[in-house]
């Protein structure tokens, strides 16, 4: 925790140098965050080329608006939110239904059962299974489990209700389990 705080402090200094027009610091910031942010975008758009576009747009926008970053959140959290928004824009460009509007998604909150006890899967398998999830499921699951947003934040990001986010998350976990355990999904 202390280390994280120190890392953030170092990045604040970098940001200050960026604001003073030092291009070298921009590149250092990019190097520090590009991998994790690329993966954030990738998990949403599920496509390498589009994830690169998202990363590029997000960094350009972040650098342009760097003076708006006030240090209320960590720089990483601020940047991540930009990446998520750009990724969602990218998805909407595809004209896919992000979250189906009809009411069947607004189901009552399900009681949570831990159906995947001991979790006998590898990282690669889980990654592959997440990639196979439908867009809406994958987004909610990624935002919640990977990016650490709570359902209230996800509701705001995806412009859905909190209960939709919760039910969508439960459904996505079920679907994930199905992909992981059902042999008809070739994820080996």
């Amino acid at each position: 925790m202390q280390l994280e705080a120190r890392a953030e402090h170092i990045h604040d200094e970098l940001i200050r140098q960026c604001l003073q027009g030092d291009n070298n610091s921009y590149q250092r910031l990019y190097k520090l965050y590009s991998r994790s942010m690329y993966n954030v975008g990738y998990r949403i758009v599920n496509n390498a080329d589009e994830a690169e576009d998202v990363l590029q747009e997000a960094f350009i926008s972040a650098f342009k608006n760097l003076h708006h970053y006030r240090g209320d959140s960590t720089f990483g959290a601020w940047l991540k939110r930009i990446v998520v928004n750009k990724a969602l824009n990218q998805i909407s460009k595809r004209k896919f239904e992000r979250i189906p509007e009809n009411e069947q998604w607004d189901i009552a909150e399900e009681t949570e059962k831990d159906e995947l006890e001991n979790f006998p899967f590898t990282v690669d398998k889980v990654k592959r299974a997440i990639e196979l999830l439908p867009d809406g499921y994958r987004m909610v699951l990624s935002l919640y489990v990977m990016e650490g947003y709570d359902h209230q934040e996800i509701a705001e990001i995806l412009n859905i209700t909190e209960s939709t986010s919760k039910s969508q998350f439960n459904r996505s976990k079920k679907k994930l389990k199905e992909i992981l355990t059902n042999s008809r999904f070739k994820i080996e």
């Binding site: 070298n24 590009s34 991998r35 690329y38 993966n39 390498a48 690169e52 650098f63 995947l116 976990k173």
Partner: protein
């Protein structure tokens, strides 16, 4: 929400960030950045100038005298390849220092120091050309001396900038 999937992902969180963006992404981002500010708090100190001028003199001297002695072909090649390694090392060091200097925000009009530094760079280019056609130990020595003097200048400038920064910080915190 502590279920096994959550736990598993948290335990392996880093392994899930395994994908790397392509090299071209940064190039496209960099193209949108404002042009690089040139930092030049080149307040000349007489010592710097003396060193720079000495180095230019040495360079010029070897430029003239270096022509007279010709090495055997193998020796020439050896000398050239040996120097290439040194060149990479010193160039990187200079680039790092220049980058560090550009990270300071004190931007002023270029003055004597910039000019001296540019002259040294020009002299370096001349010597570098000579190394291609007539490589002698003297030429490589002059080239290395040129590097060392430039690095020394940069070090001194960095030191000065650090002092300036600390001074400014003190000033800001007191107001």
């Amino acid at each position: 929400m502590k279920d096994s999937l959550n736990k598993f992902i948290h335990q392996n969180r880093d392994s899930f960030d395994d994908k790397q963006p392509g090299e071209n992404v940064w190039r496209k981002i960099a193209a949108t950045l404002p042009p690089k500010k040139t930092i030049s708090l080149w307040n000349s100190v007489s010592v710097w100038r003396a060193a720079a001028i000495l180095c230019m003199g040495v360079g010029a001297y070897f430029f003239v005298t270096g022509r007279q002695s010709l090495f055997q072909k193998t020796e020439m090649a050896e000398l050239q390849s040996e120097f290439l390694d040194l060149e990479v090392y010193y160039t990187t060091e200079i680039e790092e220092k220049v980058a560090l200097i550009s990270s300071f925000d004190e931007a002023e009009e270029p003055d004597q120091f910039t000019q001296d530094f540019q002259k040294l760079e020009a002299m370096y280019q001349v010597l570098r050309e000579q190394l291609k056609t007539q490589p002698t130990q003297k030429v490589t020595d002059a080239l290395i001396l040129n590097f060392l003097v430039r690095i020394d200048l940069l070090n001194q400038l960095l030191h000065k900038l650090e002092q300036y920064k600390t001074y400014n910080k003190g000033k800001h915190s007191s107001t």
